[in-house]
């Protein structure tokens, strides 16, 4: 197997050069960033949406903060949620709230729904003309089913669709800057 042929000699030379390269590399100090996890990005999207949307007048009159709520299963890590709640939006401190099965979404401005087809999910979507919530989900078909913003992925990057009709029903005004980045869904369907 290891005849001393010229190609084996070349292989040894290659090995030598690899070792040399590695030595060089170990002397350099390259800090590797952690791989960015899917729901860390999605959580950051939730916070960012708040900056480009106007809620109906009176929404924040006696609000103690800007509330991002998570209905049903929570896919986000504590680390990213606490890092988001350190920020302010619309001059209000962000706070995060979990919505239980009682379905009380009062005081929420954004609600992330992990399972829109659950009873809780359906209830929120159906009564959003009174709740004025920015409903967000990453479930395929969410905007078609009446949700306001649907997160989806293209080439492992997160993109979003906006259902303009659902936004109107919830009395939300969406800035043109946000819309310029979104796939716009008129009423029901989009590609």
């Amino acid at each position: 197997m290891f005849k001393y042929t010229s190609s084996n000699k070349l292989l040894l030379d290659l090995a030598w050069r690899i070792v040399f390269t590695l030595l060089l590399l170990s002397s350099s100090q390259i800090v590797l960033a952690d791989n960015v996890r899917e729901y860390t990005i999605k959580a950051a999207f939730l916070y960012n949406f708040s900056k480009f949307i106007d809620w109906p007048e009176g929404t924040f009159i006696d609000a103690s903060g800007f509330r991002i709520c998570i209905a049903g299963k929570n896919p986000f890590s504590d680390k990213i949620l606490s890092s988001i709640s350190e920020n302010k939006t619309k001059s209000l401190q962000v706070n995060i709230k979990r919505i239980g099965n009682d379905g009380i979404v009062k005081g929420c401005q954004i609600v992330f729904i992990s399972e829109p087809s659950s009873i809780l999910g359906k209830h929120i979507i159906k009564s959003n003309h009174q709740l004025n919530l920015l409903t967000v989900s990453d479930e395929p078909g969410f905007t078609a089913g009446g949700g306001v913003i649907e997160l989806f992925s293209v080439n492992r990057k997160v993109r979003f669709k906006v259902n303009l009709k659902a936004a109107k029903i919830a009395n939300l005004r969406i800035s043109s800057r946000l819309l310029s980045l979104a796939v716009k869904v008129e009423s029901g369907e989009q590609l």
């Binding site: 390259i30 960033a33 960015v36 960012n48 990213i80 992925s153 980045l181």
Partner: protein, 670 residues
């Protein structure tokens, strides 16, 4: 001696490249872990997530016979090269010719220079324009950095361009952001050894880089009487990839490879002086390089454009042929939603190829250097007819120097019956444009001594050779029959017109080169036709949490005929009989313990009647032990239950039987 010198030259270049990358990285500031909550929308839209749990366009909705090999599939197969990994793709005919050479095709017409299959790596076409075939022994990369290999069986003409007649193999390597850190792979087996290194890291501004170097040394196989088969193969290769995000909406990739290696072969050569037809042992020198730049710009969530340009340089030299080919290619692609129910993708492409050939008596191109221009454009409209029904209409236009303008339209319909079951059907037309060889090559196949004059037998290229045409009808089902069982089934009926045939020239006498000889020759024409039909089944069964079984079966039948008046005598049998009728594949992936994997692969390939190769069964086994987070040790046995068997033969070189191989692979990362 010359080859050694070239090798040293290459090594010097690799070393300089490695050093300069290292220095480049050190000069940039090290990147810290990012706090995503401080990023804006556009920046967020440009960050890649490690995995996506809910994909917008799952594979089950593709309206074509598509199969994807993931890095995990490749790792668990123990495959050492791209062709070895392709054995796992249902419906693909993968046959090894000797230690380094392969014949690969989909849906028939397999050959060392299969010309009805398009092979791409990261957007770069891998076939040689001389024959429209792939020299598989020079196509390689750092195998662990392959993200996926997507194989479409059937016509991919609309989007992919000429030669995607019977299939497309699309090899995609990982983004540099996914290959951070160092990895060393040492592979030792009874037929050779491989040593490979990769290092990757982060740059400023959300950018990443990696580079790799790899050395392969494959020993010669044995002949049937246990002598050295003179087909050993070695290759040194290095490459890099840099992914940058100059703005939140832009992504730029720069990548390149360089390689140099030799392989021994026994080649057939023809001579007018005795011995007339002889086989000689010689050494092929292969080297080449490529560099590719791709720029993707995001317009909004649903639309983006991509601009890609590459240069590829290939040099190959053996006793019968020496050539240099330079390819320059530029492509533009734009995708956008035209209405709420239609998504349009269109593109333009231009390719310029220049070659320089040193002719020999056996293989001669006239002219011996030639420039080729290929202009192409395509448009595809994906129309959502209803919630569960979508129609994709498209056409590709191509203009090449040999057959002029070609149109390749297709229509594909996908119906999602419910969450579990999908049906698709497609009707398409595809063409295989003539290659340089079919126009300009004179191949002196054999010579027979005789008195007073020898006789020379030749195949002569023809300017009148036109494109080969295909009309394909396909239908498929993809679905989940139970929680643990998925099935993918496709059936096709292909009608080929204007296939290559070899028509007799009048018997003549040639005075040059001396001695004066009789010439029996054929010219390339389009007098053959064929119908082919077949089915391809593949399924996955998750038996338990720890055990998964893949099973696949494919059947292929080809009926060929000649137009009346054709004088061809060999083509019909070649077309009908070169491809085995049956293939079976069974793969088991078993998790023996938390850090121990046992993978077993069985491949059955039916008899090749044309080449008189008996049916064979091949069994590969891999035992993978994850020693710790930094080290994997694999024990790999290939072709376990057979000392050796033939898989294919080639027209120009002597094929050898494929032996058993036992080996160990160490895969370390940090």
């Amino acid at each position: 001696m010359k080859s050694l010198f070239r090798c040293l030259q290459l090594k010097a270049r690799i070393a300089i490249a490695s050093l300069s990358i290292v220095c480049f990285c050190n000069s940039l500031q090290a990147k810290q872990d990012i706090d995503v909550s401080t990023l804006g929308l556009e920046e967020l839209m440009n960050i890649e997530v490690t995995s996506v749990s809910k994909s917008a366009e799952p594979l089950s909705k593709a309206p074509s016979a598509i199969y994807v090999l993931t890095q995990d599939d490749i790792r668990r197969s123990g495959a050492r090269s791209i062709p070895e990994a392709l054995r796992m793709v249902p419906g693909l005919h993968v046959a090894q010719i000797d230690a380094g050479n392969w014949a690969i095709s989909a849906r028939g017409f397999n050959n060392r220079f299969s010309n009805k299959l398009l092979v791409l790596m990261d957007g770069r076409t891998l076939y040689t324009p001389l024959f429209s075939g792939v020299y598989w022994n020079v196509q390689d990369t750092f195998i662990e950095d392959i993200e996926r290999i997507e194989v479409i069986r059937g016509s991919g003409g609309t989007l992919w361009g000429a030669n995607a007649v019977n299939g497309v193999i699309n090899i995609t390597t990982k983004r540099a952001s996914d290959t951070k850190g160092s990895r060393v792979v040492v592979d030792l087996d009874t037929n050779g050894e491989t040593l490979a290194l990769r290092h990757g890291g982060s740059l400023d501004n959300n950018g990443h880089y990696r580079f790799y170097a790899k050395g392969i040394d494959r020993d010669a196989f044995k002949t049937t009487d246990d002598n050295d088969a003179h087909d050993s193969f070695d290759m040194l290769r290095a490459g890099f990839r840099i992914d940058l995000s100059p703005s939140p909406r832009d992504e730029v990739t720069l990548q390149g490879d360089i390689y140099d290696g030799d392989n021994d072969q026994t080649i057939r050569a023809t001579s007018l002086t005795p011995p007339a037809s002889l086989t000689t042992e010689d050494t092929v020198e292969n080297d080449g390089s490529n560099i590719l730049l791709r720029w993707t710009h995001l317009l909004d969530s649903a639309s983006e454009w991509t601009l890609q340009a590459y240069v590829d340089q290939t040099h190959r030299e053996d006793n019968s042929l020496e050539f240099d080919i330079d390819t320059y290619d530029i492509d533009f692609q734009h995708r956008f939603p035209a209405t709420t129910t239609q998504e349009i993708t269109w593109g333009l492409g231009y390719r310029y190829i220049e070659d320089d050939i040193k002719n020999t008596f056996t293989v001669a191109f006239t002219p011996d250097n030639r420039d080729q221009n290929i202009i192409s454009a395509f448009i595809q409209d994906k129309i959502k007819l209803a919630d569960d029904l979508s129609l994709t209409l498209g056409t590709k236009f191509e203009n090449n120097d040999y057959s002029g303008s070609e149109w390749q339209p297709s229509a594909r319909l996908h119906w999602q019956i419910n969450e579990q079951h999908n049906i698709w059907t497609a009707l398409s037309r595809a063409v295989r444009s003539p290659s340089r060889g079919q126009n300009d090559l004179r191949l002196n196949v054999a010579a027979r001594p005789g008195t007073p004059n020898p006789t020379l037998i030749s195949i002569i290229g023809s300017d009148d050779f036109d494109a080969e045409e295909l009309t394909a009808l396909e239908v498929g089902y993809r679905g989940r029959l139970s929680d643990s069982f998925t099935l993918d089934a496709a059936a096709f009926y292909n009608r080929y017109n204007n296939l290559l045939s070899r028509e007799a020239n009048p018997f003549t006498v040639e005075f040059s080169p001396a001695p004066t000889h009789f010439l029996v020759s054929t010219f390339n024409a389009n007098e053959a036709n064929a119908n082919s039909y077949g089915i391809e089944l593949s399924s996955t069964w998750q038996v338990t949490d720890d055990w998964r079984i893949h099973a696949a079966y494919s059947h292929l039948k080809i009926d060929a005929s000649l137009n009346s008046g054709s004088t061809d005598t060999a083509t019909v049998s070649e077309l009908e009989n070169t491809d085995p009728e049956h293939y079976v594949q069974l793969r088991s992936q078993y998790q023996l313990a938390k850090n121990l994997e046992l993978d077993t692969m069985l491949y059955y390939t039916g008899r090749n009647r044309e080449k008189d190769i008996p049916a064979y069964t091949r069994v590969d086994v891999r035992l993978g032990w994850q020693v710790n987070n930094n080290l994997d040790i694999d024990v790999i046995g290939q072709n376990l239950f057979d000392d050796r068997h033939p898989e294919f033969t080639a027209q120009d070189i002597i094929a050898n039987e494929i032996p058993r191989a036992l080996g160990v692979r160490l895969n370390a990362k940090w």
